[in-house]
Protein backbone atom coordinates (compact mmCIF):
# COMPACT_ATOMS: atom_id res chain seq x y z
CA UNK A 1 0.00 0.00 0.00
CA UNK A 2 1.46 3.36 -0.98
CA UNK A 3 1.05 6.54 1.04
CA UNK A 4 -0.49 9.65 -0.49
CA UNK A 5 2.97 11.24 -0.70
CA UNK A 6 4.29 8.16 -2.52
CA UNK A 7 1.34 8.30 -4.91
CA UNK A 8 2.12 11.94 -5.72
CA UNK A 9 5.75 11.01 -6.44
CA UNK A 10 4.69 8.02 -8.53
CA UNK A 11 2.27 10.12 -10.52
CA UNK A 12 4.95 12.76 -11.14
CA UNK A 13 7.46 10.11 -12.23
CA UNK A 14 5.00 8.46 -14.58
CA UNK A 15 4.08 11.75 -16.20
CA UNK A 16 7.72 12.72 -16.47
CA UNK A 17 8.76 9.42 -18.02
CA UNK A 18 5.88 9.30 -20.49
CA UNK A 19 6.58 12.85 -21.65
CA UNK A 20 10.37 12.84 -21.67
CA UNK A 21 11.92 9.39 -21.79
CA UNK A 22 10.18 7.59 -24.64
CA UNK A 23 11.72 9.30 -27.65
CA UNK A 24 11.78 6.51 -30.29
CA UNK A 25 15.04 7.91 -31.67
CA UNK A 26 16.86 6.96 -28.47
CA UNK A 27 15.48 3.50 -27.78
CA UNK A 28 18.76 2.00 -28.95
CA UNK A 29 21.28 4.73 -28.14
CA UNK A 30 22.10 6.82 -25.09
CA UNK A 31 20.65 10.31 -25.00
CA UNK A 32 22.58 12.94 -22.98
CA UNK A 33 19.50 15.19 -23.23
CA UNK A 34 17.36 12.57 -21.51
CA UNK A 35 20.03 12.20 -18.84
CA UNK A 36 19.94 15.96 -18.26
CA UNK A 37 16.16 15.86 -18.02
CA UNK A 38 16.07 13.09 -15.42
CA UNK A 39 18.79 14.86 -13.43
CA UNK A 40 16.84 18.14 -13.51
CA UNK A 41 13.74 16.21 -12.48
CA UNK A 42 15.60 15.36 -9.26
CA UNK A 43 15.20 11.60 -9.26
CA UNK A 44 18.84 10.55 -9.19
CA UNK A 45 19.37 11.11 -5.48
CA UNK A 46 16.18 9.38 -4.40
CA UNK A 47 17.50 7.78 -1.20
CA UNK A 48 20.47 10.08 -0.64
CA UNK A 49 20.33 12.61 2.17
CA UNK A 50 19.05 16.08 1.32
CA UNK A 51 22.37 17.65 2.27
CA UNK A 52 23.88 15.97 -0.79
CA UNK A 53 21.03 17.12 -3.03
CA UNK A 54 18.98 13.96 -2.63
CA UNK A 55 15.39 13.31 -1.66
CA UNK A 56 16.13 11.22 1.43
CA UNK A 57 13.33 8.80 0.62
CA UNK A 58 12.99 5.31 2.10
CA UNK A 59 13.82 2.21 0.06
CA UNK A 60 10.10 1.39 0.16
CA UNK A 61 9.31 4.64 -1.64
CA UNK A 62 12.24 4.15 -4.01
CA UNK A 63 10.89 0.70 -4.92
CA UNK A 64 7.43 2.09 -5.69
CA UNK A 65 8.91 4.91 -7.74
CA UNK A 66 11.31 2.71 -9.73
CA UNK A 67 8.67 0.11 -10.50
CA UNK A 68 6.69 2.92 -12.09
CA UNK A 69 9.72 4.31 -13.88
CA UNK A 70 10.12 0.86 -15.41
CA UNK A 71 6.44 0.87 -16.35
CA UNK A 72 6.29 4.31 -17.92
CA UNK A 73 9.74 4.41 -19.53
CA UNK A 74 9.87 1.83 -22.29
CA UNK A 75 13.52 2.67 -22.89
CA UNK A 76 14.82 -0.23 -20.79
CA UNK A 77 18.45 0.58 -21.57
CA UNK A 78 18.09 4.11 -20.26
CA UNK A 79 16.49 2.84 -17.04
CA UNK A 80 19.48 0.48 -16.76
CA UNK A 81 21.87 3.46 -17.06
CA UNK A 82 20.00 5.24 -14.27
CA UNK A 83 20.03 2.14 -12.07
CA UNK A 84 23.75 1.54 -12.56
CA UNK A 85 24.44 5.13 -11.63
CA UNK A 86 22.23 5.19 -8.55
CA UNK A 87 22.43 1.78 -6.95
CA UNK A 88 25.90 0.45 -7.61
CA UNK A 89 28.01 3.58 -7.71
CA UNK A 90 26.41 6.62 -6.05
CA UNK A 91 24.69 4.49 -3.40
CA UNK A 92 27.94 2.73 -2.49
CA UNK A 93 29.72 6.05 -1.95
CA UNK A 94 26.76 7.28 0.09
CA UNK A 95 26.60 4.21 2.32
CA UNK A 96 30.22 3.11 2.61
CA UNK A 97 32.29 6.15 1.62
CA UNK A 98 34.21 8.42 3.98
CA UNK A 99 32.86 11.92 4.63
CA UNK A 100 35.59 13.20 2.34
CA UNK A 101 34.46 10.97 -0.52
CA UNK A 102 30.83 11.89 0.02
CA UNK A 103 31.66 15.60 -0.05
CA UNK A 104 33.81 15.11 -3.12
CA UNK A 105 31.34 13.19 -5.29
CA UNK A 106 27.78 12.95 -4.03
CA UNK A 107 26.39 16.38 -4.90
CA UNK A 108 27.66 16.08 -8.47
CA UNK A 109 26.24 12.56 -8.76
CA UNK A 110 22.77 13.37 -7.42
CA UNK A 111 22.71 16.37 -9.78
CA UNK A 112 23.68 14.10 -12.68
CA UNK A 113 26.82 16.12 -13.43
CA UNK A 114 28.87 12.96 -13.06
CA UNK A 115 27.69 9.50 -14.10
CA UNK A 116 28.75 6.40 -12.16
CA UNK A 117 29.57 2.82 -13.08
CA UNK A 118 30.78 -0.27 -11.25
CA UNK A 119 33.75 -2.37 -12.40
CA UNK A 120 33.89 -5.97 -11.17
CA UNK A 121 33.84 -8.26 -14.22
CA UNK A 122 37.02 -9.05 -16.15
CA UNK A 123 37.58 -10.92 -19.39
CA UNK A 124 38.59 -14.07 -17.51
CA UNK A 125 36.58 -13.61 -14.32
CA UNK A 126 32.83 -13.38 -14.70
CA UNK A 127 30.88 -15.60 -12.32
CA UNK A 128 34.15 -16.38 -10.54
CA UNK A 129 34.60 -12.69 -9.69
CA UNK A 130 37.10 -13.33 -6.92
CA UNK A 131 39.63 -14.66 -9.43
CA UNK A 132 40.07 -11.14 -10.81
CA UNK A 133 43.60 -10.08 -11.66
CA UNK A 134 43.29 -6.31 -11.60
CA UNK A 135 45.68 -5.26 -8.89
CA UNK A 136 46.36 -2.14 -6.86
CA UNK A 137 49.71 -1.53 -5.20
CA UNK A 138 50.19 0.80 -2.30
CA UNK A 139 52.53 3.74 -2.71
CA UNK A 140 53.42 6.58 -0.36
CA UNK A 141 50.74 8.84 -1.86
CA UNK A 142 48.04 6.34 -2.70
CA UNK A 143 47.75 3.40 -5.07
CA UNK A 144 48.76 2.33 -8.56
CA UNK A 145 46.07 0.35 -10.34
CA UNK A 146 46.72 -2.05 -13.21
CA UNK A 147 44.34 -4.32 -15.09
CA UNK A 148 41.23 -4.19 -17.19
CA UNK A 149 37.53 -4.61 -16.61
CA UNK A 150 35.10 -6.03 -19.15
CA UNK A 151 31.43 -5.41 -20.06
CA UNK A 152 31.18 -2.28 -17.94
CA UNK A 153 27.66 -0.89 -18.23
CA UNK A 154 27.75 2.94 -18.48
CA UNK A 155 31.51 2.59 -19.25
CA UNK A 156 31.70 5.02 -22.20
CA UNK A 157 29.60 7.70 -20.48
CA UNK A 158 30.76 7.33 -16.87
CA UNK A 159 32.86 9.88 -15.00
CA UNK A 160 33.29 7.85 -11.82
CA UNK A 161 34.05 4.15 -11.51
CA UNK A 162 33.81 1.97 -8.42
CA UNK A 163 36.68 -0.42 -9.14
CA UNK A 164 37.42 -3.64 -7.29
CA UNK A 165 41.05 -4.74 -7.31
CA UNK A 166 43.23 -7.30 -5.63
CA UNK A 167 45.29 -5.67 -2.88
CA UNK A 168 46.56 -8.63 -0.87
CA UNK A 169 49.66 -10.68 -1.37
CA UNK A 170 49.87 -13.44 -4.01
CA UNK A 171 47.11 -16.09 -3.40
CA UNK A 172 45.56 -13.88 -0.77
CA UNK A 173 41.95 -13.06 -1.59
CA UNK A 174 41.99 -9.54 -0.22
CA UNK A 175 40.34 -6.90 -2.32
CA UNK A 176 39.79 -3.20 -2.04
CA UNK A 177 37.17 -0.99 -3.64
CA UNK A 178 38.37 2.31 -5.12
CA UNK A 179 36.63 5.37 -6.47
CA UNK A 180 38.35 6.13 -9.76
CA UNK A 181 37.69 9.20 -11.88
CA UNK A 182 37.81 8.86 -15.65
CA UNK A 183 40.36 11.68 -15.75
CA UNK A 184 42.82 10.02 -13.39
CA UNK A 185 46.11 9.32 -15.18
CA UNK A 186 46.12 5.86 -16.74
CA UNK A 187 42.37 5.36 -17.24
CA UNK A 188 41.45 4.29 -20.76
CA UNK A 189 37.86 3.84 -21.87
CA UNK A 190 37.16 1.31 -24.59
CA UNK A 191 34.72 1.71 -27.45
CA UNK A 192 31.00 1.06 -26.99
CA UNK A 193 30.36 -2.67 -27.40
CA UNK A 194 27.40 -3.54 -29.62
CA UNK A 195 24.98 -5.76 -27.78
CA UNK A 196 21.85 -7.76 -28.52
CA UNK A 197 19.68 -5.47 -26.36
CA UNK A 198 19.80 -2.55 -23.94
CA UNK A 199 21.28 -0.49 -26.76
CA UNK A 200 20.77 2.80 -24.93
CA UNK A 201 23.06 1.68 -22.12
CA UNK A 202 26.60 2.07 -23.47
CA UNK A 203 28.97 -0.71 -22.45
CA UNK A 204 32.74 -0.93 -22.77
CA UNK A 205 36.02 -2.23 -21.48
CA UNK A 206 37.91 -0.03 -19.01
CA UNK A 207 41.70 -0.32 -18.85
CA UNK A 208 43.81 0.88 -15.92
CA UNK A 209 47.42 1.35 -17.00
CA UNK A 210 49.48 2.48 -14.00
CA UNK A 211 46.45 4.47 -12.92
CA UNK A 212 47.26 6.71 -9.97
CA UNK A 213 44.61 6.79 -7.25
CA UNK A 214 44.81 9.18 -4.28
CA UNK A 215 44.82 7.67 -0.80
CA UNK A 216 41.42 9.04 0.16
CA UNK A 217 39.72 7.30 -2.76
CA UNK A 218 39.52 3.94 -1.02
CA UNK A 219 35.85 3.05 -0.63
CA UNK A 220 35.28 1.54 2.80
CA UNK A 221 38.44 0.08 4.33
CA UNK A 222 41.60 -1.17 2.68
CA UNK A 223 41.37 -4.92 2.02
CA UNK A 224 37.64 -4.93 2.84
CA UNK A 225 36.56 -4.84 -0.80
CA UNK A 226 34.90 -8.27 -0.66
CA UNK A 227 32.45 -6.94 1.86
CA UNK A 228 31.66 -3.89 -0.30
CA UNK A 229 31.26 -6.19 -3.30
CA UNK A 230 28.78 -8.36 -1.40
CA UNK A 231 26.80 -5.27 -0.45
CA UNK A 232 26.98 -3.91 -3.99
CA UNK A 233 25.59 -7.15 -5.37
CA UNK A 234 22.82 -7.10 -2.81
CA UNK A 235 21.75 -3.60 -3.93
CA UNK A 236 22.13 -4.54 -7.56
CA UNK A 237 20.10 -7.74 -7.27
CA UNK A 238 17.28 -5.81 -5.74
CA UNK A 239 17.05 -2.39 -7.34
CA UNK A 240 18.32 -3.18 -10.85
CA UNK A 241 15.36 -5.58 -11.06
CA UNK A 242 12.63 -3.34 -9.62
CA UNK A 243 11.91 -1.58 -12.94
CA UNK A 244 11.52 -5.00 -14.59
CA UNK A 245 8.32 -5.45 -12.59
CA UNK A 246 7.03 -2.25 -14.17
CA UNK A 247 8.21 -3.41 -17.59
CA UNK A 248 6.32 -6.68 -17.09
CA UNK A 249 3.18 -4.69 -16.31
CA UNK A 250 3.64 -2.63 -19.46
CA UNK A 251 4.13 -5.70 -21.65
CA UNK A 252 1.19 -7.49 -20.00
CA UNK A 253 -1.11 -4.53 -20.65
CA UNK A 254 -0.12 -4.50 -24.30
CA UNK A 255 -0.89 -8.21 -24.47
CA UNK A 256 -4.30 -7.76 -22.84
CA UNK A 257 -5.18 -5.09 -25.36
CA UNK A 258 -4.06 -7.35 -28.19
CA UNK A 259 -5.88 -10.51 -27.04
CA UNK A 260 -9.09 -8.52 -26.75
CA UNK A 261 -8.92 -7.01 -30.23
CA UNK A 262 -7.26 -9.75 -32.24
CA UNK A 263 -9.82 -12.25 -33.52
CA UNK A 264 -9.20 -15.73 -34.88
CA UNK A 265 -11.84 -18.32 -35.73
CA UNK A 266 -14.40 -15.60 -35.04
CA UNK A 267 -13.43 -14.97 -31.42
CA UNK A 268 -10.95 -12.74 -29.58
CA UNK A 269 -7.83 -14.80 -29.03
CA UNK A 270 -8.07 -14.10 -25.29
CA UNK A 271 -11.02 -16.51 -25.26
CA UNK A 272 -8.61 -19.38 -25.83
CA UNK A 273 -7.00 -20.77 -22.68
CA UNK A 274 -3.69 -21.34 -24.43
CA UNK A 275 -3.50 -17.55 -24.71
CA UNK A 276 -5.27 -16.40 -21.54
CA UNK A 277 -3.11 -18.61 -19.33
CA UNK A 278 -0.06 -16.74 -20.58
CA UNK A 279 -1.57 -13.50 -19.28
CA UNK A 280 -2.38 -15.23 -15.99
CA UNK A 281 1.28 -16.30 -15.72
CA UNK A 282 2.36 -12.69 -16.32
CA UNK A 283 0.09 -11.45 -13.55
CA UNK A 284 1.40 -14.09 -11.13
CA UNK A 285 4.98 -13.11 -12.01
CA UNK A 286 4.27 -9.46 -11.28
CA UNK A 287 2.49 -10.06 -7.98
CA UNK A 288 5.03 -12.58 -6.68
CA UNK A 289 7.90 -10.25 -7.61
CA UNK A 290 6.21 -7.39 -5.79
CA UNK A 291 5.61 -9.47 -2.68
CA UNK A 292 9.30 -10.39 -2.53
CA UNK A 293 10.39 -6.84 -3.30
CA UNK A 294 8.52 -5.23 -0.43
CA UNK A 295 9.86 -7.85 2.00
CA UNK A 296 13.38 -6.92 0.90
CA UNK A 297 12.92 -3.15 1.04
CA UNK A 298 11.42 -3.44 4.50
CA UNK A 299 14.58 -5.30 5.55
CA UNK A 300 16.75 -2.63 3.93
CA UNK A 301 14.76 0.22 5.53
CA UNK A 302 15.50 -1.45 8.85
CA UNK A 303 19.19 -1.71 7.91
CA UNK A 304 19.14 -5.50 7.78
CA UNK A 305 20.97 -7.70 5.34
CA UNK A 306 18.98 -9.34 2.55
CA UNK A 307 21.65 -11.19 0.62
CA UNK A 308 19.80 -14.45 0.08
CA UNK A 309 16.47 -12.67 -0.40
CA UNK A 310 17.92 -10.53 -3.17
CA UNK A 311 19.41 -13.60 -4.80
CA UNK A 312 15.99 -15.30 -4.85
CA UNK A 313 14.38 -12.05 -6.02
CA UNK A 314 16.88 -11.61 -8.86
CA UNK A 315 16.40 -15.18 -10.00
CA UNK A 316 12.61 -15.03 -9.86
CA UNK A 317 12.13 -11.59 -11.43
CA UNK A 318 14.53 -12.23 -14.28
CA UNK A 319 12.87 -15.53 -15.18
CA UNK A 320 9.38 -14.03 -14.90
CA UNK A 321 10.43 -11.01 -16.99
CA UNK A 322 11.94 -13.14 -19.76
CA UNK A 323 8.94 -15.48 -19.75
CA UNK A 324 6.60 -12.49 -19.96
CA UNK A 325 8.41 -11.15 -23.02
CA UNK A 326 8.65 -14.57 -24.68
CA UNK A 327 4.94 -15.14 -24.08
CA UNK A 328 4.18 -11.66 -25.41
CA UNK A 329 6.05 -12.56 -28.59
CA UNK A 330 3.97 -15.74 -28.88
CA UNK A 331 0.71 -13.87 -28.24
CA UNK A 332 1.54 -11.25 -30.88
CA UNK A 333 2.62 -13.99 -33.30
CA UNK A 334 4.09 -12.71 -36.55
CA UNK A 335 3.47 -9.11 -35.52
CA UNK A 336 5.55 -9.60 -32.39
CA UNK A 337 8.48 -10.73 -34.49
CA UNK A 338 8.45 -7.50 -36.49
CA UNK A 339 10.38 -4.40 -35.40
CA UNK A 340 7.26 -2.28 -35.81
CA UNK A 341 5.47 -3.78 -32.83
CA UNK A 342 8.47 -3.29 -30.49
CA UNK A 343 7.89 -6.61 -28.70
CA UNK A 344 11.12 -8.04 -30.10
CA UNK A 345 13.09 -5.16 -28.50
CA UNK A 346 11.41 -5.81 -25.16
CA UNK A 347 12.51 -9.45 -25.41
CA UNK A 348 16.06 -8.58 -26.48
CA UNK A 349 16.35 -6.14 -23.56
CA UNK A 350 14.89 -8.64 -21.09
CA UNK A 351 17.20 -11.53 -22.01
CA UNK A 352 20.26 -9.84 -20.47
CA UNK A 353 18.79 -9.93 -16.98
CA UNK A 354 19.44 -13.64 -16.55
CA UNK A 355 23.12 -12.81 -17.05
CA UNK A 356 23.91 -9.52 -15.33
CA UNK A 357 24.24 -9.15 -11.56
CA UNK A 358 25.40 -12.76 -11.42
CA UNK A 359 23.96 -15.36 -13.77
CA UNK A 360 20.81 -17.17 -12.72
CA UNK A 361 22.83 -20.37 -12.43
CA UNK A 362 25.11 -18.63 -9.90
CA UNK A 363 22.05 -17.44 -7.98
CA UNK A 364 20.89 -21.03 -7.74
CA UNK A 365 24.31 -22.03 -6.37
CA UNK A 366 24.09 -19.25 -3.79
CA UNK A 367 20.55 -20.23 -2.81
CA UNK A 368 21.50 -23.91 -2.58
CA UNK A 369 24.60 -23.08 -0.53
CA UNK A 370 22.60 -20.96 1.85
CA UNK A 371 19.82 -23.51 2.17
CA UNK A 372 22.12 -26.41 2.89
CA UNK A 373 24.81 -24.38 4.70
CA UNK A 374 27.13 -25.48 1.94
CA UNK A 375 27.43 -29.03 3.33
CA UNK A 376 26.57 -30.72 0.06
CA UNK A 377 29.00 -28.70 -1.99
Amino acid sequence: MNTNEEMQLIEAVREFAENNLNDPEYLEKFSPEMWKKIADFGLLGITVDEKYGGLGESYHTAAAVFENLGYSCKNNGFVFVVNNHIWVSQNLIYLYGSEKLKDKYLCDMTAGKRIGAICITEAESGSDALSMVTKAEKTDDGYILNGSKAFISNGPIADIFIVFARTGEENNKSFTAFVVEKDFPGVKIGADIEKMGLGSCPTSEIVFDNCIIPKENVLGRYNFGSLIMTMALEWERCFEFVPHIGAMRRVMERCIEHVRSRKQFGRPIGDYQAVSHKIADMKVGIEMSRAMLYRIVDLKDNMKTAFIDTSIFKLYVSEAYIKTCRDAMQIFGGYGYTKEYDIERELRDALACSIYSGTNEMQKNTIYNFTTNGESL
Binding site: N4, Q8, L9, N19, N20, D40, G53, L55, G56
Partner: protein, 249 residues
Protein backbone atom coordinates in the same frame (compact mmCIF):
# COMPACT_ATOMS: atom_id res chain seq x y z
CA UNK B 1 10.37 42.10 -6.74
CA UNK B 2 7.22 41.79 -8.85
CA UNK B 3 4.38 40.18 -6.93
CA UNK B 4 2.12 37.96 -9.00
CA UNK B 5 -1.10 36.34 -7.82
CA UNK B 6 -2.32 33.23 -9.66
CA UNK B 7 -5.91 32.13 -9.20
CA UNK B 8 -6.00 28.35 -9.14
CA UNK B 9 -8.88 26.02 -9.75
CA UNK B 10 -8.85 22.26 -9.33
CA UNK B 11 -10.90 20.19 -11.77
CA UNK B 12 -11.69 16.46 -12.07
CA UNK B 13 -8.67 14.57 -13.45
CA UNK B 14 -10.92 12.23 -15.43
CA UNK B 15 -11.70 15.08 -17.81
CA UNK B 16 -8.14 14.74 -19.11
CA UNK B 17 -7.47 11.07 -18.47
CA UNK B 18 -10.40 8.66 -18.20
CA UNK B 19 -8.48 6.52 -15.69
CA UNK B 20 -7.43 9.40 -13.43
CA UNK B 21 -9.14 9.97 -10.12
CA UNK B 22 -9.21 13.04 -7.88
CA UNK B 23 -8.67 16.63 -8.85
CA UNK B 24 -5.94 18.16 -10.98
CA UNK B 25 -4.87 21.72 -11.69
CA UNK B 26 -7.12 23.26 -14.35
CA UNK B 27 -5.04 23.01 -17.58
CA UNK B 28 -5.35 26.78 -18.24
CA UNK B 29 -4.00 27.50 -14.76
CA UNK B 30 -1.28 24.90 -15.30
CA UNK B 31 -0.11 26.81 -18.36
CA UNK B 32 0.20 29.94 -16.21
CA UNK B 33 2.17 28.11 -13.51
CA UNK B 34 4.49 26.50 -16.06
CA UNK B 35 5.06 29.86 -17.77
CA UNK B 36 5.82 31.56 -14.46
CA UNK B 37 8.20 28.73 -13.50
CA UNK B 38 10.14 29.41 -16.69
CA UNK B 39 10.10 33.19 -16.27
CA UNK B 40 11.12 32.92 -12.62
CA UNK B 41 14.50 31.53 -13.70
CA UNK B 42 15.36 34.88 -15.24
CA UNK B 43 13.05 37.41 -13.57
CA UNK B 44 12.72 38.74 -10.06
CA UNK B 45 9.16 37.62 -9.42
CA UNK B 46 7.31 36.15 -6.49
CA UNK B 47 4.30 33.95 -7.19
CA UNK B 48 1.39 33.62 -4.79
CA UNK B 49 -1.30 31.05 -5.47
CA UNK B 50 -4.85 31.53 -4.32
CA UNK B 51 -7.36 28.73 -4.46
CA UNK B 52 -10.92 28.20 -3.35
CA UNK B 53 -11.47 24.51 -2.68
CA UNK B 54 -11.90 21.73 -0.15
CA UNK B 55 -9.47 19.06 1.03
CA UNK B 56 -9.50 17.38 -2.40
CA UNK B 57 -7.60 20.41 -3.75
CA UNK B 58 -4.52 19.54 -1.64
CA UNK B 59 -2.70 17.42 -4.28
CA UNK B 60 -3.08 20.16 -6.87
CA UNK B 61 -1.85 22.78 -4.43
CA UNK B 62 1.19 20.65 -3.60
CA UNK B 63 1.98 20.54 -7.31
CA UNK B 64 1.43 24.27 -7.67
CA UNK B 65 3.80 24.90 -4.79
CA UNK B 66 6.38 22.50 -6.24
CA UNK B 67 6.13 24.12 -9.65
CA UNK B 68 6.52 27.76 -8.79
CA UNK B 69 4.41 29.18 -5.95
CA UNK B 70 6.30 30.89 -3.13
CA UNK B 71 3.16 31.08 -1.06
CA UNK B 72 -0.39 29.77 -1.28
CA UNK B 73 -3.63 30.99 0.29
CA UNK B 74 -6.12 28.15 0.46
CA UNK B 75 -9.69 29.38 0.90
CA UNK B 76 -11.08 26.21 2.37
CA UNK B 77 -14.41 26.45 4.11
CA UNK B 78 -17.74 24.76 3.46
CA UNK B 79 -19.22 28.27 3.39
CA UNK B 80 -17.36 28.91 0.12
CA UNK B 81 -18.91 25.86 -1.58
CA UNK B 82 -21.29 26.10 -4.57
CA UNK B 83 -20.36 29.68 -5.33
CA UNK B 84 -21.44 31.20 -8.63
CA UNK B 85 -19.19 33.66 -10.49
CA UNK B 86 -20.27 36.64 -8.39
CA UNK B 87 -19.72 34.91 -5.05
CA UNK B 88 -16.40 33.49 -6.30
CA UNK B 89 -15.29 36.94 -7.42
CA UNK B 90 -16.25 38.50 -4.09
CA UNK B 91 -14.33 35.82 -2.19
CA UNK B 92 -11.20 36.08 -4.32
CA UNK B 93 -11.34 39.87 -4.20
CA UNK B 94 -11.57 39.83 -0.40
CA UNK B 95 -8.60 37.46 -0.18
CA UNK B 96 -6.39 39.46 -2.57
CA UNK B 97 -7.27 42.76 -0.86
CA UNK B 98 -6.60 41.33 2.58
CA UNK B 99 -3.50 39.20 1.99
CA UNK B 100 -1.85 40.50 -1.17
CA UNK B 101 -2.98 44.14 -1.49
CA UNK B 102 0.29 45.10 -3.17
CA UNK B 103 0.02 42.53 -6.00
CA UNK B 104 1.44 43.83 -9.25
CA UNK B 105 -0.38 41.31 -11.40
CA UNK B 106 -3.23 38.86 -11.04
CA UNK B 107 -3.35 36.01 -13.53
CA UNK B 108 -6.28 33.68 -14.15
CA UNK B 109 -6.75 30.78 -16.54
CA UNK B 110 -9.27 32.04 -19.08
CA UNK B 111 -11.44 28.94 -18.70
CA UNK B 112 -11.99 25.96 -16.47
CA UNK B 113 -12.56 22.63 -18.15
CA UNK B 114 -15.23 21.44 -15.71
CA UNK B 115 -17.99 23.80 -16.78
CA UNK B 116 -17.38 27.50 -16.62
CA UNK B 117 -18.66 30.84 -17.71
CA UNK B 118 -15.31 32.58 -18.20
CA UNK B 119 -16.61 35.56 -16.27
CA UNK B 120 -14.54 35.47 -13.09
CA UNK B 121 -11.37 37.11 -14.51
CA UNK B 122 -13.29 40.10 -15.90
CA UNK B 123 -15.37 40.47 -12.74
CA UNK B 124 -12.29 40.19 -10.57
CA UNK B 125 -10.45 42.94 -12.45
CA UNK B 126 -13.51 45.15 -12.07
CA UNK B 127 -13.74 44.51 -8.32
CA UNK B 128 -10.00 45.04 -7.87
CA UNK B 129 -10.06 48.13 -10.06
CA UNK B 130 -7.19 47.04 -12.27
CA UNK B 131 -6.72 46.83 -16.05
CA UNK B 132 -8.06 43.69 -17.70
CA UNK B 133 -6.39 41.89 -20.58
CA UNK B 134 -8.35 39.03 -22.11
CA UNK B 135 -7.33 36.48 -24.78
CA UNK B 136 -3.76 36.27 -23.50
CA UNK B 137 -1.88 33.56 -25.38
CA UNK B 138 1.51 33.99 -23.78
CA UNK B 139 3.50 35.98 -21.24
CA UNK B 140 6.91 37.00 -22.49
CA UNK B 141 8.55 38.88 -19.62
CA UNK B 142 8.15 40.80 -16.40
CA UNK B 143 9.97 44.13 -16.10
CA UNK B 144 10.15 46.63 -13.24
CA UNK B 145 7.05 48.60 -14.16
CA UNK B 146 5.42 46.53 -16.87
CA UNK B 147 5.14 43.11 -18.45
CA UNK B 148 5.09 42.01 -22.07
CA UNK B 149 2.27 39.70 -23.10
CA UNK B 150 0.93 38.25 -26.32
CA UNK B 151 -2.79 38.54 -27.05
CA UNK B 152 -4.37 36.47 -29.76
CA UNK B 153 -7.85 36.30 -31.25
CA UNK B 154 -9.31 35.00 -34.51
CA UNK B 155 -8.01 37.99 -36.47
CA UNK B 156 -4.67 39.01 -35.05
CA UNK B 157 -1.84 38.50 -32.63
CA UNK B 158 -0.61 41.49 -30.64
CA UNK B 159 2.44 41.86 -28.44
CA UNK B 160 1.51 44.29 -25.69
CA UNK B 161 3.47 45.99 -22.96
CA UNK B 162 1.15 46.47 -19.97
CA UNK B 163 1.79 48.52 -16.89
CA UNK B 164 1.17 47.11 -13.42
CA UNK B 165 -1.22 46.50 -11.84
CA UNK B 166 -3.27 44.39 -14.23
CA UNK B 167 -5.20 41.15 -14.53
CA UNK B 168 -4.61 38.64 -17.30
CA UNK B 169 -7.07 36.04 -18.53
CA UNK B 170 -4.96 33.38 -20.26
CA UNK B 171 -6.39 31.25 -23.04
CA UNK B 172 -3.52 28.79 -23.46
CA UNK B 173 -3.47 25.46 -21.69
CA UNK B 174 -1.21 22.56 -20.78
CA UNK B 175 -1.87 19.07 -19.49
CA UNK B 176 1.71 18.35 -18.43
CA UNK B 177 4.14 20.63 -16.62
CA UNK B 178 7.74 19.96 -17.59
CA UNK B 179 9.15 22.15 -14.83
CA UNK B 180 7.98 19.85 -12.04
CA UNK B 181 10.85 18.49 -9.99
CA UNK B 182 10.59 15.74 -7.38
CA UNK B 183 12.83 17.55 -4.88
CA UNK B 184 10.50 20.55 -4.99
CA UNK B 185 7.53 18.19 -4.83
CA UNK B 186 8.85 16.64 -1.64
CA UNK B 187 9.41 20.08 -0.08
CA UNK B 188 5.90 21.04 -1.11
CA UNK B 189 4.51 17.93 0.58
CA UNK B 190 6.05 19.06 3.86
CA UNK B 191 5.01 22.70 3.51
CA UNK B 192 2.31 24.04 5.79
CA UNK B 193 -0.57 25.37 3.72
CA UNK B 194 -2.44 28.41 5.04
CA UNK B 195 -6.06 27.39 5.30
CA UNK B 196 -8.38 30.40 5.42
CA UNK B 197 -11.96 30.21 6.60
CA UNK B 198 -14.77 32.62 5.72
CA UNK B 199 -14.57 34.03 9.21
CA UNK B 200 -10.83 34.59 8.99
CA UNK B 201 -11.25 36.23 5.61
CA UNK B 202 -13.89 38.49 7.10
CA UNK B 203 -16.44 37.87 4.38
CA UNK B 204 -20.13 37.71 5.21
CA UNK B 205 -21.76 34.37 4.49
CA UNK B 206 -24.28 36.25 2.34
CA UNK B 207 -21.41 37.25 0.02
CA UNK B 208 -19.85 33.84 -0.53
CA UNK B 209 -20.71 30.26 -1.38
CA UNK B 210 -24.25 29.13 -2.10
CA UNK B 211 -25.78 31.86 0.08
CA UNK B 212 -23.93 34.59 -1.77
CA UNK B 213 -24.80 33.24 -5.21
CA UNK B 214 -27.45 34.84 -7.34
CA UNK B 215 -27.63 31.79 -9.57
CA UNK B 216 -27.86 28.11 -8.82
CA UNK B 217 -27.15 25.28 -11.24
CA UNK B 218 -30.17 22.98 -11.07
CA UNK B 219 -28.90 20.34 -13.44
CA UNK B 220 -25.80 19.75 -15.53
CA UNK B 221 -25.45 17.32 -18.42
CA UNK B 222 -22.34 16.73 -20.46
CA UNK B 223 -23.10 16.78 -24.16
CA UNK B 224 -20.95 14.27 -25.97
CA UNK B 225 -20.90 14.53 -29.74
CA UNK B 226 -20.42 11.01 -30.97
CA UNK B 227 -18.93 10.28 -34.35
CA UNK B 228 -19.53 7.00 -36.03
CA UNK B 229 -16.41 4.86 -35.92
CA UNK B 230 -15.37 1.43 -37.03
CA UNK B 231 -12.51 -0.71 -35.81
CA UNK B 232 -10.17 -2.04 -38.46
CA UNK B 233 -8.42 -5.26 -37.50
CA UNK B 234 -6.31 -7.91 -39.15
CA UNK B 235 -2.89 -7.89 -40.74
CA UNK B 236 -1.30 -4.73 -42.10
CA UNK B 237 -2.33 -5.75 -45.61
CA UNK B 238 -5.91 -6.42 -44.50
CA UNK B 239 -6.01 -3.04 -42.74
CA UNK B 240 -4.61 -1.28 -45.81
CA UNK B 241 -7.17 -2.99 -48.09
CA UNK B 242 -9.95 -1.99 -45.74
CA UNK B 243 -8.84 1.67 -45.70
CA UNK B 244 -8.50 1.64 -49.49
CA UNK B 245 -12.04 0.30 -49.81
CA UNK B 246 -13.38 2.98 -47.49
CA UNK B 247 -11.61 5.72 -49.42
CA UNK B 248 -13.05 4.42 -52.67
CA UNK B 249 -16.54 4.52 -51.17
Amino acid sequence: MIKIVVCLKMVPGKLINAEAGGLIINPYDLFVLEKLAELKKSSDISVIGICMGGESARDGLIRSKALVCDDIYWLNDIKFAQADTIATTKTLTAAIKKYIPDADAVICGGHAIDGETGQVPAELSEKLGITYFSSVADIESFGNDSAVIVRRDERQEMTVRCRYPFLLSVDSFLTYASNLNVIALKRAQKWEYKIISAEELGIASTDCGASGSKTKVINSVNIIYKKESIEIGGSIKEKADHVKKLLQQ
